[in-house]
């Protein structure tokens, strides 16, 4: 069994590790790869960075999102007895 994985596979496994879903042997494979590959190491760090900053986008964007008036009028006129 080879312990070597490609960058393509390593980046695929990185999400599984981030979510705590990587089986032991694959974790070893990924760690060996990351120890020797600065690009995938950067990918994993940047991916974790994206993961930890994404939730905040929702509240920040919501401040400026408004349903168009034409939609509001249409819905309002449909919601009449």
């Amino acid at each position: 069994m080879s312990l070597m994985v490609s960058c393509k596979e390593a980046t695929y496994l990185a999400s599984q590790m981030e979510e705590g879903k990587l089986p032991f042997i694959k974790k070893i494979k990924l760690k060996i790869h990351l120890a020797g590959c600065k690009f995938c190491k950067m990918f994993a760090m940047q991916s974790a960075f994206i993961a930890s900053h994404s939730a905040q986008t929702e509240a920040i964007m919501a401040e400026s999102i408004v349903l168009p008036d034409t939609d509001k009028q249409r819905i309002n006129s449909a919601l009449r007895p």
Partner: protein
């Protein structure tokens, strides 16, 4: 205490919020507008069965959430018919090494620092997120906005774990590249 519905206030009180909620979760604005409209119409149609156990707000959000899930499942069905296209050749060569054009570059910030705590950064991140294809966006949002476990996400979308990891892999590759080009360069 039992809650009461006030349909005459729905649009004023909830339409912008439900629209923002839906827009964050589906790909096109048009789909989001349709879902919001459907949410109110469904709610109106089933208002007589409202028992007042949940607040009006959470009742409406549940209806909206179900509409979003229905929409995702439609995308899942068409993806299953069409098959997952190969995306990895944009980033990796035949040996699975990074292509020169796609190699990650060092970012000015690699850990959470206040350099990125600006609205501008989150706008760019959100734009990148909005460029993801429907189901990549779906898994990404369910994971990172709704904080769901991958097993729950698979169940809700009716996809296999390997479908999930492929969608997430692709989402991360694309988001990373988009942020690098539009913020960290």
């Amino acid at each position: 205490m039992s809650h009461k519905l006030q349909p005459e206030q729905w649009v004023e009180n909830y339409s912008d919020k439900l629209y923002a909620y839906t827009k964050a979760r589906v790909q096109s604005d048009e789909t989001a507008r349709d879902i919001v409209q459907d949410t109110f119409l469904s709610a109106w149609g089933s208002k007589d069965s409202y028992r007042g156990e949940a607040s009006e707000k959470s009742w409406l959000y549940t209806i909206c959430r179900n509409k979003i899930t229905d929409h995702y499942r439609k995308s899942v069905r068409s993806l299953k018919e069409a098959g997952f296209e190969d995306y990895s050749s944009e980033y990796f060569n035949e040996q699975g090494h990074w292509k020169a054009t796609a190699v990650p570059k060092a970012w000015a910030v690699d850990s959470s620092t206040d350099v990125v705590e600006t609205k501008e950064f989150y706008k760019v991140l959100n734009e990148c997120k909005d460029r993801l294809k429907e189901l990549q966006k779906a898994v990404f949002v369910m994971k990172y906005l709704d904080d769901m476990d991958s097993d729950e996400i698979c169940k809700e979308l009716q996809i296999t774990p390997s479908n999930y990891w492929v969608l997430m892999h692709r989402a991360k590759l694309q988001l990373r590249e988009c942020l690098e080009h539009n913020w960290f360069s």
